[in-house]
Amino acid sequence: MHIHELNPWRTLIALSVFVIVIIVGFLTMSKPLLTYHLNMVESIKEVDDTDLYFYPWELESVINKETNSIILFDIRDNFIYGQGHIPGAENMSANELSKEDNIKRLEELKENGFTVVLYGEDELQANGPLMLFRQAGFDNIKILPGGYNYYLEHKTDLKSTENDDSFIKGIPRYDFAEMAAPKDSGTKAVADKKPVQVQRRQKASVAAGGC
């Protein structure tokens, strides 16, 4: 006779303990540092969102410490950051963004209602981290278009950047079709006659010398 048949309760107890252990295991599973908060459709919508831009002329109030709700993060390497950065910016180099401390810091800033502005060498460098953090639910993160390079060129007169669009990306700067248009057939016809013309030219110059 099996022992369980003696006490049917034991079976039930064993089963419920098993279930509880599994449930506890699920609940205490280590939570990943980053999870997606935006699904693909929402992320695609955000691609053309210009609200994510923190424009260079808006920097002035940050540099002059007129506002303290904005934190600048320089994502360039620590060494390059040391050579010069926007006043007041903190360094959080791109390679260290995934460190737990840094993500905790960003979470803290988000909870306390700070706006975080990322900038790199140019807009492209900060674009990836911006998108990732936005998709991971940090809706307080923005980007400085033009990046540090643009800031450096215009730091003496940030106000004037309001009338400048050279740092704005996504605009065609040329008439592509016209610029890359095939050379018209007229040029080609002339080109075919060339070898003859070369000979004539030489003779002409000799004659000129004789005179």
Binding site: V19, I22, P32, L33, L34, T35, Y36, N39, M40, V41, S43, I44, V47, D48, A94, N95, L97, S98, E123, L124, N127, G128, P129, M131, L132, Q135, A136, K169, G170, I171, P172, R173, Y174, F176, A177, M179, A180, A181, P182, K183, T187, K188, V190, A191, D192, K194, Q197, V198, R200, R201, A204, S205, A207, A208, C211
Partner: protein
């Protein structure tokens, strides 16, 4: 036990379609390895490399007006369309995104990467950069290193290739000769 087994089915259904871990995505997107230069693309197009798949991520009108040779229009909504996604992730191909410059292409790269696609790249500089380097390359200064001149002579050749000249061998040199001829002819006439 049976209840738990059913539970696991629901867990896997909750998740979005295939996508990579955010942490892994972050690690990959801080690497600049996804960027290719306009020169590299020009070389691949000239060599008719069959593994190159150019994706023009601008809208359809812009694409119809001008696009790189062999490029496929891949507007951003394509990321949600199964037909278009079929272009990505074909073994043995290199997919290169380009836009007017590189930001939009880079964004699409990140979204595609999140969906787990590999061997995808971004053409740095985009079409603006293409015009500046390939279609209308700037001559290097005399002080610049030799490599700058080598790049320039490659670009000059590529320029002829892409502006569609048929006698691509030395059209520009012929044009220069023509100019000289005119000057000398008039000079001789004056002398006599």
């Amino acid at each position: 036990m049976i209840v738990l087994a059913f539970g696991t089915i629901f867990i896997s259904k909750d998740k979005e379609p295939k996508q990579i871990d955010p942490q892994q995505l972050l690690a990959e997107l801080v690497q600049p390895t996804r960027y290719v230069t306009t020169d590299q693309i020009a070389k691949l197009i000239i060599a008719k490399d069959p593994s190159l798949l150019l994706m023009d991520v601008r809208d359809e009108d812009a694409y119809n007006e001008y696009s790189l040779p062999g490029a496929i229009n891949f507007p951003i909504d394509s990321l949600m369309s199964k037909d278009y996604l079929g272009y990505l992730g074909i073994p043995g191909t290199k997919v290169v995104f380009y836009s007017n410059d590189d930001i939009k292409a880079d964004k699409i790269w990140i979204l595609a990467k999140r969906m787990g696609f590999n061997s995808i790249y971004v053409m740095k500089g985009g079409l603006n950069g293409w015009m500046e380097t390939i279609i209308n390359p700037a001559e290097p200064d005399e002080t610049e290193p030799n490599s700058a001149f080598e790049t320039y002579s490659f670009r000059k050749g590529a320029q002829l290739f892409f502006t569609g000249s048929e006698n691509e061998s030395d059209e520009t040199s012929k044009i220069e000769v023509q100019v000289r001829r005119k000057e000398k002819a008039s000079g001789a006439a004056g002398g006599c």
